[in-house]
Structures are given as C-alpha cells and as structure tokens.
C-alpha cells in the first residue's frame, strides 16, 4: 500500500457520487487511516458533471491536484474522459458504462458516442476496467447500489489499504437499515466483478 492514495470519483449529479465518496472515506476512517474528502453541494449537483475527491493518508488539502489522481472511479464514461487531466499515466480507471447523454447533445440533434469508442479512447491512455454497475445493481433490487458496486470493485483493483471489514462497517453506518442488505450484496458483487475482470 502507498503512503497516500488520491481518489477522484466523478459522474453525473444524482448518480450517487457523493455516497460513493462517503462510503470510501468512512471505511478509511474505520480502518484508522487519515482521510480528507471534498464534496459538491448546491446547484452543481443538478444533473451536471460532478466530482468529489477523497485523499487517503497523511495530507491536509482537500483537493487532488491535477495529474495526481491515483484511482479514478467514474460513474459515467463521458465523465471519465472529462477528468483525464486529473490523473497520470500510472492511474487506474474504473468506469461504469451506464451512459447518460448530456441534454446539449439532444438539442444539437446529436447522438451519444458509442461506449466502445469512449472506452477504447481511454484505454489507449490509461489502465481501464469497466463494468455496467447499473445492470449489476438490478440484482440487488435497488438501482442506487450502483455506487457501492463501483467503490467495491475499484478498491479491489487498486489497493487503498482498507479491509472488507471496514467497508462493511461503513455500509452499516451510512445506510438506513432497510438498504443495508442490498448494499452488502452490492459490495460482494463488486468484489466478484473485480476478480472476474483481472482474470
């Protein structure tokens, strides 16, 4: 494990980017690791491009400097490309392939680019793992567990030094009782998916 991990979580407002960040940072704290997270609230959340930074390890500044992101968790493929400058050649990208076309495309009568082209564009530049987290989340009966799946998968593919036990503690702390089961299931699904993609 590195002394410091800089994680950037990006997506579209409403996709659970904040929840993903809270899960990761709560787990880090439960592990006893120093963590600082920077959140987005207010108007920016309304369906726009959002990102939150989670910095794990001995650091105070809440923003990951450009080029210093180690792990990028992208809830949406276009958003993964949008934060490319925040990563380096060594960064790992974990990308949810659920596409959300910006309304500006429709207004201009344009179609969303194909997922394959977006992903291959990314793969030429970085190490990339993909998953359709929304489809997987369906299995848990709760679509909003997609963000838990992403965090689980990403933290398996890039070691942040946080154990499963701390993630499970975090799930119990963050989600109301009626959503805990679905999120624990989502966490398992994410771990399995990670094992499958590295094979």
């Amino acid at each position: 494990m590195k002394m410091q991990s800089n994680v950037v979580i990006c997506g579209v407002g409403g996709q659970g980017v904040l929840t993903a960040g809270k899960l990761l940072s709560t787990a880090a704290l439960s592990e006893g690791i120093q963590v600082v997270m920077s959140e987005i609230h207010g108007l920016a959340q309304r369906g726009g491009a959002v990102s939150v930074d989670v910095r794990i390890g001995n650091v105070l500044g809440p923003i990951v400097p450009d080029g210093k992101g180690d792990l990028i968790i992208a809830m949406e493929p276009l958003e993964a490309l949008r934060v490319l400058h925040r990563s380096s050649r060594e960064s790992v990208f974990v990308v949810n392939t659920q596409k959300i076309p910006p309304v500006s495309l429709g207004i201009a009568h344009r179609e969303y680019p194909s997922i394959e082209s977006l992903v291959s564009d990314l793969k030429r530049r970085r190490t990339v793992f993909t998953v359709n987290a929304l489809e997987l989340a369906r299995k848990t009966g709760e679509l909003r567990t997609a963000s838990t799946i992403m965090v689980s998968m990403a933290s398996a593919l890039y070691d942040t030094g946080i154990t499963d036990e701390s993630f499970l503690n975090a799930i119990k702390r963050l989600f109301p009782l009626r959503y805990q089961k679905a999120n624990i299931e989502a966490f398992d699904l994410g771990r399995k998916e990670a094992a499958a993609v590295v094979k």
Partner: protein, 623 residues
C-alpha cells in the same frame, strides 16, 4: 449509534467523519446555543440541514427565516434576552443582513451572537466571490477563520466565548472548501443550554439614536483594541521550522501550504491566523522580526497582506513580503495545491520539477440541468410558446436565483437578467411606461418572500408592465429542499403558519393573479397568454411541488412509473429533445428514447404540446 445520535451525543469524545458544516452544527450544539436561524444558501446550507433535524432533541430553537436580515434580527432578539444565538448564511446573504449588522456591532450583544458567513471562492454556486472578511473590518467586529472541520467545531466554541466576554457579535467566516471538506473531528462535551430569559427594560443599550451611537462607536473601538491584546485568545498558532522563511496564512490556504512544505521539505515556519480581525499585532511583529522573508497565503482579496504590510511599515521592520499585491498569488478563484505551490516556488526561487499534467480533453459540456419532472421545465416551455404565439419578441426576461436560473441555458434561453435575490421584480419595476418596455419576470416562492415583495410593491405603484411567473415549487429547492413561508413545514407543522402567495399579491394590488398547474400545459398556456395580454402587473402562480420532494414521497410508498417512446409512432422530428429537453430523453439513431432509470414519470412529455404525434406513453410494464 447512528450519525444523528452521535451528532447530539452529550458526552462527545468520539471521532466522527464530519463535513465542515456538520462540524459547525456540532460546535453550535456543544456551545449550548439556545437559538439558531438562517436563510439557506450554498455553501452554508448543511449546517441548517443538521440543526433542523436535531434542534428539538437538544432543546434549541431553530428557524428558517424569510431572509438573512430577518434571520440576523431573530438571533439578535434572542441575544438581547441573554441567550446564546447563532445565525448563518452564504456570503451574499450577509449583504442582505448587513444593514442590521452595521448597527448591531455598535450596540453590542448580551447573549453570545455568532454570525457565520460561508464564502464561495470560484463561485461554485454563487453570483460573485466577495471576500467577507472585509465585513469584519467594516463593522469593527472580530473575524474567526477555521482551516479544517475540526477547527470549525472548536472555533465555534471560542467564538461564543469571545462574543460574550466583549458583548460583541463575532463573524465566523468559512469558504466552500472548509464548509464542504469532510474529515475526522473529535467531539467534545455539550454545554447545557442557558435558558433564563431577561431583558433590561428602559436601558436603551440596543438603541442606535445618533446620540447613543456616538458613545457606542467609542466602546466598540475600545473592545477591538482589547481583543487585539487579549492573551486568553488562542486561535493563532505558530509552527516553527529551521530557516529564514516565514509564511502567514489563514483558512484552507493553511492546508495546501502545509502539504507543500512537507512534501518538498521546505525551510518555512508558519504563522496560522484563526483570528483575522483584529490582528493580534504582537504575534505578527515577533514573527516578522524572526523571519525576514514572509510569504502570505490567503484566498481572494489581499486582506491579511494589506494589514501586514502596513504593520511592517509602521514598525520599521525591514522584511520582504511576497503576496498578491506583487503578483505572486492570484486574487481570483479558489486555491488548490498547484496554485499555492507555484506562488511559493516563485517566491523562494525554487526549481520544482513538476511534470505538467496532460491538458484536459474536450468533452461535451454537461452544465447542471433542471431535473427530470421538474415543474419549472413545463413553465419555461409554456411561457416561451405563449410569447411566440402572441408574437411578443421584445420582452426582457428578468429571472432570479434558484434552480430556475438554469432556464437561462439552452433550450429556453430565459434569463436576460439574473443578478441577486429578488432583483427580478425590482428590475421589472423599472419597466415603467416612460421607457415603453415590458418584461416577463420569473421568481421562486422562497425568493419572492426573501426579497421580491418590495419590488412587486414598487412595480404596482409605478404602473410597470410585467407578467410575473411565481415558480411555486413549495420549497427552497436549490439548496436542498428547505421549507418556505408558503408551504407548511412538515417537521414543525404544529406551530407554523402557511402564507398565501395569492392573497399576498392580491393585497399588494397586482391586477390579475391566477394559479395554475404547470403540468397542465393547456391550462397553463391559456392563463399565461391571458396575463400577457393584460396591461400592468399580472401574475401566474405556477404551483407544483419540486420533483425531488415528490419522488421522495412516492418512493416511500410505491415506485415511479416511467414513460417510454413508441418507436413506430416516433417520426424523428426531435421536437421533444429540442424544445422540452428532459434529461431522461436522448437520441438513438433516428428516434428518441427515454431512459427509464432517469424518468420521473411526470408525464408532461406525453402531452401533445411536447410530442405532437402522441409517441410518448406511460410504460406500465417497466421493471
């Protein structure tokens, strides 16, 4: 224990992962505050989100006031009764409250009164990035600036002690990155709330008649001189290292600076100021005598820098100061590690081998949009259509602050004017007969009460030509669905009243006032055209709950039933995506599709006004 239980736990002594604003709320609870008030505004809103939920449990009175000025006045009232009181707002909110503040500072306070201002460098959610530390200087009151959530909590308690020791209101200033940073906070014990109420009748302590104000001013200056030398205040901190360089900093700048000093092992000692008005001169003078090169790291205006340069000059200290005034650091937008690193490296003449990050790739922009199912979308759609039908092409669109500010973007382009809370109507009251112009005014329910009513009075009085669309979504949506005066507050239902927008407007004398449901496009169109044809000030109250609120209610009992496009009926005219632009719709091949995961099931797009071919239907079989 759940997060909320921890938040109100009287013993404390726990490590919690708190947002800066949550830490402030905890600080307010620990300080034994009896009364808190606010008008919601990003980046301050989450303080209220916590207090709203827990106030009754801890025995505190909390209210969402009609605007920031009244919020301050309510807290001031509690303070004059001897109670500890806390009022909080975003930076521009303090402009609204400033009139009262400038005299409350003179009269002083009884129970501790702390005023929080959350500034927004980079304007993430604001119309400007004013530096509110200058309000402390203007009002002659102390300014306290935390750097981290832990300090945010701890300093709130110090702020109340200071306020009560000197009977002076204290300005507690955060920025977006401090308010919206989440990190570990160790909680402390909760002080009991002091509840005994008393008022000193006839003493006129709080009266600002000129004869009294003259005396108040002298008292105020004396208090500030004493605070500058009060050694019991421990808000400033020195971190010493070997070497001849010193840095003076406050707020989040301290965090970035510390990371850089550690990463590059720089010989820089740091004086971190938590009390930034008045400056405690002696500490700064000692620091400047020790280190003859001083770097100043602060966001926005060269506030500390101006004062520190003056101090050096007054005391004939020969020291080289590096800051904004000589171009080492920017005066606009928020800082991050890179900005601070560049400034420090230039000042110290360091060659730092930084791989320049790759430039950003060009990706289709994704600005925020109105939610799927947002009632405002329907209102903008209809008003646009009505203007086209009536061939009105010279109406100035005067809009305001709220989610509906987004109506200014494609495809509605409705926002020629957006300035500040309530300016939509104030501006429209300038559409007087002499100028021969007219306007269409958009204002939300919460904004209307906040600062719109005087503008409407002025418009009626001066016979302005405008149609006002009150976007009544039953909440203060943009900042996170806080209650508004016109809708019953679900948590405090039992002791609050609902204020009718319709009778308010009628009472003022608006010539035509009609209510409409924006989801009912036909009726809405009829009423909007009718109002547009009527001279003088007319108003449509477009009443329909914010989609987020409605979703929450639906999800509790059942599921959202989405709509879908019948491919055979869709002609590919793309009128729905071009003119209505719900984010759940997109183009696939030569048809439109609706993403069931995003659709809110409002059904507005199924009306013929949006899809003339009737290709959009409810999808009963959706999973």
């Amino acid at each position: 224990m759940s997060e909320i239980d921890d938040m109100i736990d009287p013993k404390g002594n726990k490590i919690l992962l708190l947002l800066g604003n949550e830490a402030i709320a905890r600080g307010v609870i620990e300080a034994g505050v009896a009364s808190a008030s606010t008008y919601p505004g990003t980046p301050s809103s989450e303080v209220g989100d916590v207090l709203y939920r827990v106030a009754r449990k801890v025995g505190m009175r909390f209210e969402y006031s009609v605007n920031e000025k009244v919020a301050l006045e309510v807290s001031f009232a509690a303070s004059t009764l001897g109670l500890r009181s806390f009022v909080f707002m975003k930076h521009v909110g303090l402009n609204v409250a400033a009139d009262a503040l400038m005299s409350i500072s003179y009269s002083g306070v009884k129970g501790g009164l702390v005023i929080m201002s959350a500034d927004d460098p980079s304007m993430h959610s604001s119309q400007n990035e004013q530096d509110n530390r200058l309000y402390g200087q203007l009002a002659h009151i102390p300014v306290i600036e935390p750097s981290t959530p832990q300090e945010a909590k701890d300093f709130i308690i110090s702020a109340f002690e200071l306020s009560e020791r000197y009977h002076i209101p204290v300005l507690f200033r955060t920025t977006t990155r401090v308010s919206h940073e989440r990190s570990a906070v160790k909680t402390g014990p909760v002080a009991g709330i002091r509840k005994s109420i008393s008022f000193d009748y006839g003493k006129m302590d709080f009266n600002s008649l000129p004869s009294l104000a003259r005396q108040h001013k002298l008292n105020l200056e004396r208090k500030m001189r004493e605070i500058a030398h009060d050694e019991r205040i421990s808000l400033n901190r020195m971190i010493e290292r070997e070497g001849s360089w010193g840095a003076i900093t406050s707020g989040v700048g301290y965090s970035y600076l510390t990371d850089i000093i550690e990463e590059y092992d720089l010989p820089v000692s740091v004086l971190k100021l938590g009390l930034t008005n008045p400056l405690q001169d002696n500490i700064i003078l000692d620091f400047m005598r020790k280190y003859n090169n001083i770097i100043i790291v602060e966001e926005l205006d060269p506030y500390l820098e101006t004062k520190i340069r003056a101090l050096a000059q007054l005391n004939s200290i020969s020291v080289k100061i590096y800051g904004k005034m000589d171009g080492y650091f920017p005066t606009d937008y928020e800082y991050d590690g890179n900005v601070v690193l560049r400034g420090v490296a230039r000042a110290m003449g360091l060659k730092i081998d930084e791989k320049a990050p790759e430039p950003a790739v060009k990706v289709t922009p994704r600005p925020p949009v109105l939610c799927p199912g947002c009632p405002h979308r329907a209102s903008f759609f209809i008003v646009k259509r009505a203007l086209r039908m009536l061939k009105i092409d010279d109406a100035i669109i005067s809009s305001d602050i709220g989610c509906y500010s987004l109506g200014a973007l494609d495809p509605f382009d409705m926002g020629d004017i957006i300035i500040s809370m309530g300016t939509s109507v104030g501006y429209s009251s300038g559409m007087v007969p002499e100028f021969g112009k007219r306007s269409v005014t958009f204002i939300g329910d919460s904004t209307l009460f906040h600062g719109g009513l005087p503008g409407i009075v002025n418009a009626v009085k001066n016979n302005a030509q405008t149609t006002i669309i009150v976007l009544d979504n039953r909440t203060t949506a943009m900042t996170g669905q806080q209650p508004t005066p016109s809708a019953l507050d679900p948590t405090y239902e039992d002791d609050m009243k609902e204020i009718s927008i319709e009778s308010t407007l009628k009472g003022i004398g608006v010539s035509k006032v009609v209510e409409a449901d924006p989801y009912d496009l036909k009726d809405m169109l009829h009423k909007v055209t009718d109002c547009l044809k009527t001279p003088g000030v007319t108003a449509i109250i477009a009443k329909r709950e914010c989609a987020i609120l409605r979703d929450r209610k639906i999800r509790r009992v059942s599921k959202i039933v989405p709509y879908h496009v019948i491919p055979d009926k869709c002609t590919g005219c793309f009128r729905c995506v071009t003119d209505f632009s719900c984010p759940a719709m997109s183009i696939k091949g030569n048809k439109v599709v609706i993403d069931a995961a995003l659709c809110d099931g409002c059904g507005v797009c199924a009306e013929r006004f949006v899809c003339p071919y009737g290709a959009i239907e409810v999808d009963e079989n959706a999973e």
